[in-house]
């Protein structure tokens, strides 16, 4: 937490108010507290101010002010992130983009839209839906998360197996750089000249600046969709079915796995029609041309049956399909019904390693005396073990963190990654050396230096701190949260 003197705080507040107006600046402790966490409650950090700009010019002016005053700043969308990425970990200014929610332009002929960063992901698909279009990246939090936040994290979602993640759908960005200058990276047209700065900006977790306008691709809704639910009595068989589907040369739009702990929580929440006694279920969606759809569905059914599915059924109508997806997308939230807290891991592994790694995950969690629920993008090999725990029990949180680290280590060992879509943020900084060498990290740090030489823009994220022996460059300093140890939940 920052240590501004009262008089400096007053004068900064006045300067902020001069930019965004009196009603668009928060500085009272109880109001700031609401902004101290994101979707991951393991960490909390209090800002000195939260400001609510409504235009690029205001964002630029805020950033220039912060830059002049040496005040750290970080952008925040809906705060649904799962890695602590938008926390003001060194105090300073939170730039909340929740008042920049407009769709500025939709160009149906060129299949693109220009939006503001605070726009809720799903609201874009709602807006263009009546004309037969949609925005493909669909994180499970898409009903609340913002497209700006998706840019920061390069968010994925269930349908990325076929359609790719956020970066595959972003053409250009208007960005406020960490010194306040406004530049365009990329454009509405393809192959803009020079380095692919759009590509490197997406997924930079808010450390390269703040996107204020975003050009995204829109896709046409597919002619046909088929959603299949395959039910298994053994989780291993479900894992094998995943490889079997891929081996048949099928590329489903989505291929999701959901285990028994999760099924029961979801059924408690919404009664979505998953069998409560199943060890695991696969939710498989095919989309595209109507021609050949039956044959593909038959291929999926056959692959699942051969792998030992107990039951395979196809959603009979759109309502049933929506209900199955509602269950899948609400899974994380549903854990609140079976446990007072959970920590979601986000490791990625080669698909073929699924049976082995799932077994290891269960062993690790059991060894720490904890429970785990699995709901994840099996087709991508993107695991989400959700370790369930009670933060009020002494020592339990530390065991969760330890188990999480061990799981990510296994993912790294089989050639995977420590994050598929949630980002590194505060949570996984110290695990970066599991998969990156000092030279890799130094290169990343140099790129950061190019965008953010003073390090004021979202400081203290991504790069490892004490545990690593990595020297990551001149901007390095120990993280305050790390010095405090793990903050208690909430």
């Amino acid at each position: 937490m920052a240590t501004l003197t009262e008089s400096r705080k007053q004068s900064l507040r006045r300067a902020l108010e001069a930019i965004v107006g009196k009603s668009a600046v928060l500085s009272d402790r109880e109001e700031l507290m609401v902004y101290e966490s994101d979707g991951l409650t393991l960490f909390r950090a209090l800002a000195d101010f939260v400001a609510f700009p409504t235009s690029t010019e205001q964002v630029s002016a805020l950033v220039k002010l912060a830059s002049q005053e040496g005040l750290p700043f970080v952008a925040r969308g809906a705060g649904t992130g799962l890695s602590g990425g938008c926390l003001p970990s060194e105090g300073g200014l939170v730039i909340a983009l929740s008042r920049m929610t407009r769709i500025l332009e939709v160009d149906y002929d060129n299949h693109l839209a220009v939006v503001e960063p605070g726009l809720v992901n799903l609201h874009l698909s709602w807006a263009v839906g009546p004309r037969g279009f949609y925005y493909a990246p669909d994180p499970s939090s898409q009903q609340a998360c913002t497209i700006g936040g998706n840019i920061a994290n390069n968010s994925g979602g269930p349908h990325t197996l076929k359609y790719g993640v956020t970066t595959n759908h972003v053409l250009g960005l208007e960005v406020v750089l960490p010194d306040g200058e406004v530049v365009w990276l990329g454009a509405k047209t393809r192959e803009p000249q020079g380095y692919d700065l759009t590509g490197i900006f997406v997924g930079s977790e808010g450390t390269f600046g703040i996107a204020t306008k975003i050009v995204v691709r829109l896709l046409r809704k597919p002619q046909a969709v088929k959603t299949v639910l395959a039910v298994f009595d053994e989780i291993n068989r479900a894992s094998e079915a995943v490889s079997a589907i891929i081996a048949r040369g099928l590329v489903p739009a989505a291929l999701e796995m959901i285990d028994q702990v999760t099924i029961q929580a979801v059924e408690d929440a919404f009664g979505c029609g998953y069998p409560r006694d199943a060890a695991a279920a696969l939710l498989i969606e095919l989309d595209g041309l109507a021609a050949g759809m039956e044959a593909q569905a038959a291929g999926v059914v056959a692959a699942c049956m051969e792998a030992g599915a107990r039951e395979v059924r196809t959603a009979k109508d759109e309502a049933e399909r929506q209900l199955l997806w509602k269950g899948r997308k609400s899974a994380f939230g549903s854990y609140g019904r079976v446990s007072p807290a959970y920590m979601v891991m986000d490791g990625v592994i080669p698909r073929t390693k699924l049976p082995y790694v799932l077994r290891r995950v269960n062993e690790i969690v059991a060894a720490h005396g904890l429970r785990v629920g699995n709901v994840f993008h099996a087709g991508d090999g993107n695991l989400h073990p959700n370790i369930l725990y009670d933060p009020r029990r002494p020592g339990e949180e530390a065991r969760v963190v330890q188990a999480g680290a061990e799981i990510l280590k296994v993912c790294a060992e089989v050639g995977g990654s420590i994050s598929g879509e949630h980002g590194i943020g505060l949570e996984k900084m110290d695990y970066m050396p599991f998969i990156f060498s000092p030279a890799d990290l130094a290169t990343m740090h140099r790129v950061k230096e190019a965008f953010n030489p003073r390090g004021l823009c979202n400081p203290g994220k991504i790069f490892p701190t004490k545990k690593s022996c990595v020297e990551v460059g001149p901007g390095y300093r120990p993280h305050p949260i790390e010095e405090k140890g793990l903050a208690q939940r909430f």
């Binding site: 994290n153 790719g164 595959n168 000249q193 050639g415 190019a450 965008f451």
Partner: protein
């Protein structure tokens, strides 16, 4: 190049892999001859060479198959050509993971044939696949017609191993299809024309080989009708893998015309399950009923037609003078082609155009055969203006030195250049990697 230095280079790779003197003639670039060309046989050798170059301040020009070596401003310095063709192995291919890792110097065709033996392919189809290397394709962001559905290098590359300017080995991304750990470094190396590092290994997403693959060529009386046809296709349920457009001149130059008078043609690629491909060919026929002619090509005919289209820059005219790559909004494609064609006509030049119509990428070729470069220069300048006015941009992909001296290769990238320069300084502080060839003199 000093002989002591050459000895050190020879010491690293062995003297049989170092070319000097007249043997360098294939590596003459924009009229300049390098001091040496060296062909390392391992990643470690690449590292040692770059460490040496960095220490000695020698300019290094990475060189794959050389198919895109003409793209770029004349080099500030041309000293050591770093040939990568010996790094030509497929390292890993696990069909169940739909990924493969290969070395940067493998040619696209060699890679594809090995992948095909296990039922998969890398969905990139740039020109000259028999020569173009994986590293070169990535470094130049080369693409082909099927980018329409399958995307470009940035959509397929999931991990990259690069030898940095100082000779250190740097990895970006990984081997799994989804990965947001750290910055997305692979994006930075794609299309960086070797100015940030030398790509020695790449991991890519693959796709299953389609059961069936056809090319539907539909000719129209006027180019405008082609544009209308593109709009119809994009508004339909069809899912073509390629949506290319050729103007009349390109159609005739490539020998793909049905009769003599067509003003242009739309080339639709359909691949996938037989049932899907058949339905799509029928649907395309129904949708484009107003066409002059329509043919469905399969097998060898299909392959050679696509090859011609990809290589339009070299094949539209026996003696092409210059090639400009334009990027505009898809809806502007036919209009820009018409205007650019009119410009050429006024200058007394012949021009041919091919476009990946639905993504707005146009290759514009000027015929040569004249003594003076002046009309070519004038036409290129006017084209540039025209694209800029349409909100797009252009790269002069090929032109004689005399033309390049008068017409900029790259458009200025705007205020973002500042960041690009800083990235270059951070990653190549001594400026040894391909100096001067890239955007803004980088």
């Amino acid at each position: 190049m000093q002989s002591a230095l050459l000895d050190q280079v020879r010491g690293i790779v062995g003297s049989e892999y170092v070319l000097t003197g007249v043997a360098l003639s294939p590596y003459v670039l924009e009229g300049r001859t390098p001091g040496a060309a060296v062909f390392p046989g391992s990643v470690e050798e690449v590292g040692a060479l770059l460490a040496l170059a960095s220490e000695e301040g020698i300019a290094v020009t990475p060189w794959g198959g050389g198919t895109k070596i003409a793209v770029g401003a004349p080099p500030k310095r041309l000293e050591l050509v770093l040939g990568l063709r010996r790094l030509n192995r497929l390292l890993e291919h696990e069909p169940g993971d739909l990924t493969a890792t290969a070395q940067g110097g493998i040619t696209l065709d060699a890679l594809e044939s090995q992948l095909a033996s296990r039922g998969q392919w890398l969905s990139l189809d740039p020109p000259f696949g028999e020569q173009a290397t994986l590293g070169g394709i990535l470094a130049t962001n080369a693409s082909g017609p099927r980018r329409h559905l399958y995307g470009t290098a940035r959509d397929l590359l999931i991990g990259v191993m690069v030898v940095a300017a100082d000779g250190s080995l740097v990895k970006g991304g990984g081997k799994v299809v989804k990965n947001v750990a750290g910055y997305d470094l692979p994006k930075l190396y794609i299309g960086s024309f070797g100015t940030l590092g030398v790509i020695v290994e790449a991991t890519l997403k693959l796709r299953p080989l389609p059961d069936d693959d056809r090319l539907v060529v539909t000719s129209f009386e006027r180019l405008k009708d082609c544009g209308q046809a593109v709009r119809l296709v994009l508004g339909s349920d069809l899912i073509p893998s390629a949506v290319d457009l050729l103007d009349g001149e390109a159609l005739r130059g490539l020998g793909l015309a049905d009769g003599g008078s067509a003003g242009g043609a739309l080339l639709l690629g359909f691949d996938g399950m037989r049932e899907q491909v058949e339905w799509q060919c029928e649907e395309a026929k129904r949708l484009l009923a107003g066409a002059v002619a329509q043919r469905v090509l399969e097998g060898g005919q299909r392959d050679s037609a696509w090859r011609l289209v990809r290589e339009v820059g070299r094949r539209a005219f026996p003696d092409p003078a210059a090639q400009l790559r334009l990027a505009v909004l898809p809806t502007q494609v036919t209009e820009v082609i018409e205007q650019a064609g009119a410009v050429a006509q006024r200058s007394g030049l012949r021009a041919a155009f091919a476009a990946h119509a639905a993504v707005g990428i146009v290759t514009a070729v000027l015929a040569g055969g004249r003594d003076s470069a002046q009309p070519v220069i004038a036409a290129l300048r006017e084209w540039r203006e025209l694209v800029r006015a349409a909100g797009g941009h252009a790269v002069l992909e090929r032109a004689p030195l005399a033309v390049k001296e008068q017409v900029a290769v790259w458009d200025p990238p705007g205020p973002a250049l500042r960041i690009m320069e800083r990235i270059k300084t951070q990653l190549d502080p001594k400026g040894i990697l391909n100096p001067g060839r890239f955007v803004g003199g980088i």
